[in-house]
Symmetry: D2
Subunit: 302 residues, 4 copies
Amino acid sequence: MPITADQQAEIDALRAQTRPTLRAVSDGMEAHLYRAHPVLDHGFVRVIDYMGDDAAICQAARVSYGRGTKTVQNDEGLIRYLMRHWHSTPFEMCEVKLHVKLPVFVARQWIRHRTANVNEYSARYSILDREFYIPEPSQLAAQSVVNNQGRGAALTPEESARVLEILKGDAARTYDHYEEMISDDGKQGLARELARMNLPANIYTQWYWKVDLHNLFHFLRLRADAHAQYEIRVYAEEICKVVADWVPAAYAAFEDYRMGGVTLSSKAVECVRRMIKGEQVTQETSGMSKGEWREFMDGVVG
Amino acid sequence: MPITADQQAEIDALRAQTRPTLRAVSDGMEAHLYRAHPVLDHGFVRVIDYMGDDAAICQAARVSYGRGTKTVQNDEGLIRYLMRHWHSTPFEMCEVKLHVKLPVFVARQWIRHRTANVNEYSARYSILDREFYIPEPSQLAAQSVVNNQGRGAALTPEESARVLEILKGDAARTYDHYEEMISDDGKQGLARELARMNLPANIYTQWYWKVDLHNLFHFLRLRADAHAQYEIRVYAEEICKVVADWVPAAYAAFEDYRMGGVTLSSKAVECVRRMIKGEQVTQETSGMSKGEWREFMDGVVG
Amino acid sequence: MPITADQQAEIDALRAQTRPTLRAVSDGMEAHLYRAHPVLDHGFVRVIDYMGDDAAICQAARVSYGRGTKTVQNDEGLIRYLMRHWHSTPFEMCEVKLHVKLPVFVARQWIRHRTANVNEYSARYSILDREFYIPEPSQLAAQSVVNNQGRGAALTPEESARVLEILKGDAARTYDHYEEMISDDGKQGLARELARMNLPANIYTQWYWKVDLHNLFHFLRLRADAHAQYEIRVYAEEICKVVADWVPAAYAAFEDYRMGGVTLSSKAVECVRRMIKGEQVTQETSGMSKGEWREFMDGVVG
Amino acid sequence: MPITADQQAEIDALRAQTRPTLRAVSDGMEAHLYRAHPVLDHGFVRVIDYMGDDAAICQAARVSYGRGTKTVQNDEGLIRYLMRHWHSTPFEMCEVKLHVKLPVFVARQWIRHRTANVNEYSARYSILDREFYIPEPSQLAAQSVVNNQGRGAALTPEESARVLEILKGDAARTYDHYEEMISDDGKQGLARELARMNLPANIYTQWYWKVDLHNLFHFLRLRADAHAQYEIRVYAEEICKVVADWVPAAYAAFEDYRMGGVTLSSKAVECVRRMIKGEQVTQETSGMSKGEWREFMDGVVG
């Protein structure tokens, strides 16, 4: 269970009382505030705060004095125009702050997105909890034979069972040793900043992560993509749902132009033109490499 | 007058109605929302939105589930500790969005602070207003003879008068010409993106500027400093007042450790030690250059 | 003339003498070093320094110990793969430092690209030269009627002549006044930081600008685009030529996937599929707005 | 041994042959290029490339056409002035690219410095080596009782021995299991992106890390500080030596103003003034908290 009873009580207390504000309010986002959306076996995503809504994007794009919106329809059209023409700065005018609990190996991918603010739980200062990500058997898969950095076919039940036995056993043993090393019961106890080095990458950490909407969309495009590692993708998918409630028009434009969009090379554009004219184009006559051609046929021709 | 009656009506409409929120609310900041604080002759600073308060800084530093604060006193102590030890990430958890109207030559200095989000009024798309910064006579000063990039003694009344005559005359003439060039009355009218090149750097522009509290403090330390150019300093000083109302504990720590603080070089530390022991130290025996010694005597010994 | 005889002598001195280095060397880039490539009437682009070459991109992608390249062909394939899949970090491993002389209104667009390092000539410290951008008559065009922020049809000769007369006259007069105000001949002379406010946006400034290859490509995609304002586009086009000589494989991939590439929305992908199958698709049956459909027909169907 | 014979051969090949360049060359840095400076038991720091030298800092600060330096003495004075007055942009004009091999828990601290470019060895694509950081017994210390996030007194020999036994045993066992899980000998073999989650944080990773000199100084000030964790401090100290050879004047200014410098709060400045006048100041009369007073007495009064 990702949230203890005490933590739930703190969350409930925060959700019990509203205060008046003059700021832009997104009702869809208010419903998410503080709630823990479970991800994986012990992880979660929680919205701690947000700034702005769909109208705020338009207000900034127009550098206006008031709410800046004429009609909702106008705003949607403007947002689609901004997204289509890569006008990123108005989307930067919205900001969200999340509390995320996630395995360390996921955190290591996540942190590569640099344009964000992060406060991570300190394992120099505090003791990490005994919580490890142990995959569902259905997620245990072999190295992919087509994609050199992904996973392919599911493991056999026997192989899965052996993997789970290893992961659980090593997690338990290394955490027992962590506790033994830092224990000051009858001895000094190793410094926490040293003892943590024994803990494997599936232990959970947590952080506050704050990011603007433009950079969040960039994160989501890469991490909610089918080629992203499953364990970060499930976080991205959970965040997608939150963003869809927060800024519905911006999210719809993002889905159409980015998530569902496809970038064609100049060679691919040429092929599309020939194909539309009825010409039969093959990889050999396309000017593309085999890899490009496969991706083109999968992504565009369908 | 920086704000027209229509704009004031839009502002009043926004301030007339509060909405409930579950988010952290800073009462001090709510009082500022949307109001235009006048700066220079036609400029202003307006708070459009904000995220977080003093407690949010502590909450992030503790990566906590609830409000995260034990007592206000605890929070103040933690904030002072974070500021003193250059822990910047918790301060990044607060964010503010401002609408600023400012002369172009001020905007050019301001934009050098890169870690912020900006949407500027587009002079390719829109027509700039006939509003120019004309300094108060008291602000007209000669090139400094000690500081190669600042201003020194006030000009004589005759010289001031001549300068103002020039600035006003050229502003009026170049704007007349701007209007003439873009006018499509009986002719095509030059494109706005071209016509704007004729406008001098004291014309006003405006933008939405969004920044986190850590980077805002960095901006304020440099731009509210006595060595900053007066025309940007008055904006920084106005923002200082807003921040003091928004996050009083963080601002107090900023004042003590940054604005009022002094950085000593290792040579200066050595001199301080010798002076505290009662030794007479001179520039010659200090190991410092003349410039460093003068700054040391002014800034520290007082 | 953008470069004086003295400056040319300095450049010649720098180009007269090579020194040995163990670093990666790009012969194509060595030929550009220090030379001023003229842009507009008084501007230029000069390469001051660079880091890395095509092989360095691959070396970083492979985190290798040696030169990291097997064959040039392998490297080209890897670079195309990285570009196609938006792997940006290996391209960040190359860096270039330029000296650029450009009109202020161009500089104001340019600086919006924040992920770069800049040192600009200081008009608080130094006196600006009497150099203004005066467009070629062929560049004088009316406000576009289709694109709200661009230029359309050329002005008539009479209108052009009047515009040039204005621009030249105001440039001369405001610069005369600038000189008069700062002159300390028989009077104090106004501080430079104040006097500069009278100068129009077509005066030239200059800066050192340093950027990594990934962010440079982003700059070039937006600013060498046909929709960019002509006066910044000519700088971007000049830089494109330099980059093509510096990292030929990376530049070729950039041309194919970015400059010549097209991004399709999910709706556009659907239309392409239907069109390839021989279906007649119209704006009405496309699900796209009129603007989107026009851009789709222009950009993809051709 | 951090470097294999094959890797050493690659390094030797790179160092065997110089090429001519017109760029700024730092002889001190050329001597470091490609060599692996050992850090900890299996780690290293290697310079892969660099841009600029002391003169390049001054050249950018002056936005000059030629080498920009009058005399070495002038340059040193300018560099000290820039450092003292927090002019950061000229230092950003130098850049360095390092290849670093380091334990994962060190990498996790390191990556928090966001303004840098990174390519890390991919454990989704490749198999990690069996190399773990095992501390020297002298580095095994208890949790500090004064600093809540550091280490204090050394462990007893018995306790140290037990810790080392645990670390070595768990490293060996988890790596054996990693190999067993990914092995496709008679079975499919678990995907690498999953198997890596079993590896503890003292396993070594490696990356290419590129950063400008201003941001590198910021990194070094925090990480070469006595309060930084030992395991990252040794990397920072090794890099300090490299930088001292690369840009001697800038490094000397950094040592004087940053590493050896002290920041006084406004309260501390007031105390210094009173002490210089001969007054006896105590914590009670200082206006400082106990923690601040202790740091003030240690850092300044000495």
